[in-house]
């Protein structure tokens, strides 16, 4: 079933809301009233509900099936969190109400902060970053502010492993740093020797992901952080993979100076088809004074929202409008309280168990890139497809027809034709087995030489493969009214 665009089914006379008639007073627009129609389509409420219902039916989601997208932590999103975020006492608050009228909201922010600090052992947390990449920026700006504060302006290099997410180098660049790549070793970890060799007095810091993007714990992490600090640099940890170790490893114990936490990954707020997320960033004592505004403090009189420099704090600035992703904070707090200390510990254990189960079962036919145990992600490469004429992409598209969302593909870049699978702890064993059965059957099919089956997959999805080259070469980024037909002539 095709679903036309709203522009193709609407009519300017239709309207899906009823509004009272405006008064008819002289306007105060100073002559700046809009002239001419905007061109927006109008639809009645029934049409709007059906349109977006139908669009939704063209989506795959964690609610509808297994979604092992590596490095994305697509876990179950509890509905309790949605319900609580919608309580009028949270949803209907203006950000600039007097503090006395929002004590409950400030308590939410304070409590969430306390949990994040308790789970990481860090000194301070900046809640306001809007997503993971924004949290990275927060951490790296704090590092830059600390360097500036100590008058150290010679350090402008940041070490980033080749296996890092693209956001890491992009973020470093935004802070005026140059990126120096560091290679991995044969075990899928940072090469300690190469790392140490790269650490000179031009290095401001290192951005590391741990567990890393190969799904492995950096076994030398303590030596790495010691070397970083010995070199006078700071250690930024990308927290994208925090779900593997939450409730087990305190980030402070790894010698970390800053780490962002994706509330929409580890703490289960929904990803919403691309946000909103939130990227609170925890900071070590060395970086804590530079945490950005605003933040919440509690004193005898109650909670206060600090929006301007006060006391000994030396905030590097403000990252976002208002007070951060408050609606996301409520959801994350509800999740964390529901799971608790024991639940988070069990969750990270089950996440790692599920990933190792995939590694064990799929390792029979696919080619694991490194030796296990893995952490919460299992990484394979495309060696098992060698000579079949089937690529990682083809293989992934065939999975769609089996009713599964594919794993992350071609990332990390350090292995060929990467397939990075993250099952999370909220998948059942039945679900994993069904997935493994399907993938093993596909692998057998590929090896049996049926390449055309793969290269023309998927067949049963709302669309078949889309022409991305055409989209990029001749970008059509908005609807335009069709050229008028010249019937009148």
């Amino acid at each position: 079933i095709e679903e036309p665009l709203i522009f193709e089914q609407g009519h300017p006379d239709k309207c899906g809301v009823d509004l009272p008639e405006p008064a008819d007073k002289p306007d105060r627009l100073g002559g700046l009233a809009r002239s001419g129609p905007i061109g927006l389509p109008g639809l009645s409420e029934p049409e709007v509900v059906r349109h977006y219902t139908r669009l939704s039916q063209k989506n795959y989601a964690i609610d509808s099936g297994f979604y092992p997208l590596g490095s994305c932590t697509m876990k179950h999103n509890p509905r309790l969190n949605e319900r609580l975020a919608r309580l009028p006492g949270f949803a209907d608050l203006h950000p600039f109400q007097p503090e006395a009228t929002v004590q409950g909201a400030l308590a939410v922010m304070h409590r969430l902060s306390a949990w994040l600090l308790g789970l990481t052992g860090m000194e301070a947390v900046a809640l306001s970053p809007g997503a993971g990449a924004h949290g990275e920026l927060c951490g790296m700006q704090a590092i830059r502010a600390a360097l500036d504060a100590r008058g150290d302006d010679g350090r402008r290099v940041v070490l980033v492993p080749d296996s890092a997410h693209g956001t890491n180098p992009a973020t470093a660049a935004l802070c005026g740093f140059r990126v120096r790549g560091i290679p991995g070793d044969a075990r899928g970890r940072v090469d300690l020797a190469a790392f140490k060799a790269a650490l000179d007095d031009g290095v401001a810091g290192v951005m590391l992901t741990n567990p890393n993007t190969c799904g492995l714990f950096e076994t030398d992490i303590l030596a790495l952080s010691e070397a970083v600090h010995a070199a006078g640099a700071y250690f930024y940890l990308d927290g994208a993979n925090f779900n593997a170790i939450v409730g087990r490893v305190k980030i402070a114990d790894l010698g970390v100076d800053a780490m962002h936490i994706n509330l929409h990954k580890t703490f289960s707020t929904p990803h919403g088809g691309g946000g909103p997320g939130a990227g609170p960033t925890v900071l070590s004592p060395a970086l804590a004074p530079f945490a950005p505004l605003p933040y919440v403090v509690h004193d005898g009189a109650g909670y206060r929202l600090v929006e301007h420099v006060e006391g000994n704090a030396r905030p590097f600035g403000r990252m976002k409008g208002f007070h951060g992703q408050f609606g996301v904070f409520v959801r994350a707090l509800a999740y964390i309280m529901s799971m608790g200390r024991d639940g988070l510990h069990r969750a990270s254990g089950d996440a790692v168990l599920n990933a190792n189960y995939l590694l064990a079962r799929l390792g029979e036919a696919l080619t694991p890139s490194f030796e296990g145990p893995c952490m919460h992600e299992a990484l394979f490469d495309d060696r098992f497809l060698k000579g079949t004429g089937v690529s990682t992409l083809d293989f992934a598209k065939a999975m769609l027809d089996e009713g599964f969302h594919p794993m992350t593909m071609y990332f990390p870049l350090v292995v060929h034709g990467a397939m990075l699978m993250e099952p999370t702890e909220t998948e059942s064993r039945d679900s994993l087995d069904a997935f493994c059965d399907a993938v093993l059957a596909l692998a057998a099919k590929a090896k049996a030489g049926d390449a055309a089956f793969f290269t023309h997959a998927p067949r049963h999805t709302p669309r078949r493969r889309l022409d991305e080259t055409r989209a990029a070469r001749h970008p059509v980024l908005r609807w335009e009214p069709p050229a008028p037909t010249r019937a009148a002539e």
């Binding site: 809009r34 209907d92 409730g247 490893v249 929904p270 064990a360 969302h405 980024l477």
Partner: protein, 454 residues
């Protein structure tokens, strides 16, 4: 534990299949010193254990009850966050699991729902701002303005950004912070609600862009055409921020006044106030700048069978391809809030959107009539959409606001909240009306202010 499907039997069987002795055994690559949970006395002992749904609900509902909701009292707060009525259909639809629990649409074959609404969103944003193209959203307007300034520097290959003193102080702060460690210089004018800024006089051949807001932070509507011309004459770009997107239903859009980049806060359409977040940044520009634009873009194409479909496109601008040379580091943005925005906009349509805007303006006109009856109060915004600045000579606006809050009235936003170091602004109060403001509320405000200012 209700969110965890594995049983102990499952765990045993799976460990056997893996060949591990225990779950802890799978963590053997973690240096023992780093395993807090294994530490006797435990590293996490201070943290509470899991709680039942009933307990969490009771606990957080009690916190929610400690807040005064904006809808429960007459409320005149704006300053960048506007309270509008959102039809119930919006929240119903965005809660559909297929939207709510999907990831960024990396697999377009099974993400056409997300991609199509992003395309609809981009088109609606472009239409109301009067621009040619729009992206699939930023976190919010503050970060959007910051990214726009950086983008203008890329487009012009210049390094100087000029910020109006009438820009929302959060947009200004976020922009200054964002650019702080780059090689871009920012110059921001002082906030002066009484004077007319001479931005044109400050534009010069080194200027990458000028950033203004319309209506500005103090509520004033201005014609930006001359400023746009001046910018273009010097090779600079004009960036226009819009804090109240509803204004675009009634006011000449920035695009029609010559803006090169328009950034707006979309929060006011489709979403509740949410204490200020999450919002959604609308970001629109000219077609020729599109490859310099930050953020995701949905574009039209065809599938293997020739059927129309949508994909994320121009991703060579983005961090996951271009890494340190990316136009931005943004990745996750505000998809679901963009969806709420586009559903609300679709419900409104041309007729509803323009009527809603007119209704807001007329409410503000009525509010000003009420305020003008208050002795000792001056409405200082000459032309406005739905918000004005009033001055309360001889009074601190913050204290007045607190007094009125105790009486169950949220009177407005005092300027001192943003400008604590500008004592001359301490008597300034921003007050705003929307379609949710009743005449009786306005009369109550006027009466309460009359009494408080006596």
């Amino acid at each position: 534990m209700r969110y965890l499907p594995l049983t102990d039997d499952d765990r045993r069987a799976m460990l056997a299949r893996i060949g591990a002795a225990s779950v802890d055994d799978l963590f053997r690559d973690v240096p023992p010193a780093a395993l807090s949970d294994a530490t006797p006395g435990g590293g996490f002992d201070a943290l509470p254990d899991h709680a039942t749904e009933m307990a969490v609900e009771r606990d957080l509902a009690a916190l929610a009850a400690r807040n005064t909701t904006a809808g429960s009292v007459p409320s005149f707060l704006g300053a960048g966050a506007y309270r509008h009525h959102v039809p119930a259909a919006v929240d119903h639809l965005i809660q559909r699991g297929e939207f709510l629990t999907a990831y960024t649409p990396y697999q377009p074959e099974v993400s056409q729902g997300t991609l199509q609404y992003l395309y609809e969103f981009q088109t609606q944003v472009a239409l109301i701002t009067g621009m040619e193209v729009a992206n699939a959203s930023m976190y919010d307007a503050a970060t959007g303005v910051a990214e726009a300034a950086a983008m203008a520097c890329r487009v012009t290959r210049r390094k100087r950004v000029l910020l109006s003193g009438r820009l929302h102080p959060h947009y200004r702060a976020a922009t200054e912070t964002f650019l702080r460690y780059t090689d871009i210089e920012t110059e921001a004018l002082d906030p002066d609600p009484m004077a007319v800024e001479d931005l044109i006089g400050r534009v010069n051949p080194g200027t990458a862009c000028v950033v203004v807001q319309n209506p500005d932070f103090f509520g004033r509507l201005s014609d930006l055409a001359a400023l746009a011309d001046a910018c273009h004459a010097e090779g600079a770009l004009l960036i226009v921020a819009v804090a109240e997107p509803v204004s675009l239903g009634l006011v000449t859009p920035p695009g029609a006044m010559g803006a090169d980049i328009v950034v707006a806060e979309g929060h006011a359409i489709g979403s509740p106030l949410n204490f200020g977040g999450p919002g959604v940044g609308l970001f629109a520009t000219r077609k020729k700048f599109v490859r310099h634009m930050p953020g995701r873009l949905a574009g039209e194409t065809v599938d293997e069978d020739g059927r129309r479909g949508w994909v994320l496109t121009l991703s060579t601008r983005e961090q996951h391809i271009r890494r340190e040379k990316a136009t931005s580091n943004i990745c996750t943005n505000s998809g679901l809030i963009a969806l709420a925005w586009t559903i609300h906009m679709t419900l409104l349509g041309e007729a509803g959107f323009t009527k809603l805007a007119r209704l807001n303006h007329m409410k503000a006109v009525e509010l000003v009539e009420h305020l003008e009856t208050v002795p000792n109060l001056k409405v200082v915004t000459p032309t406005f959409f739905n918000e004005v600045l009033v001055r309360l000579p001889g009074h601190g606006a913050a204290a007045i606001v607190e007094t009125l809050a105790e009486k169950g009235l949220l009177a407005g936003v005092p300027l001192s909240r943003f400008y604590p170091t500008y004592p001359e602004l301490a008597d300034g109060l921003l007050v705003c009306a929307t379609e949710t403001t009743e005449s009786a509320d306005m009369a109550a405000l006027a009466a309460a202010l009359t009494e408080a200012l006596r």
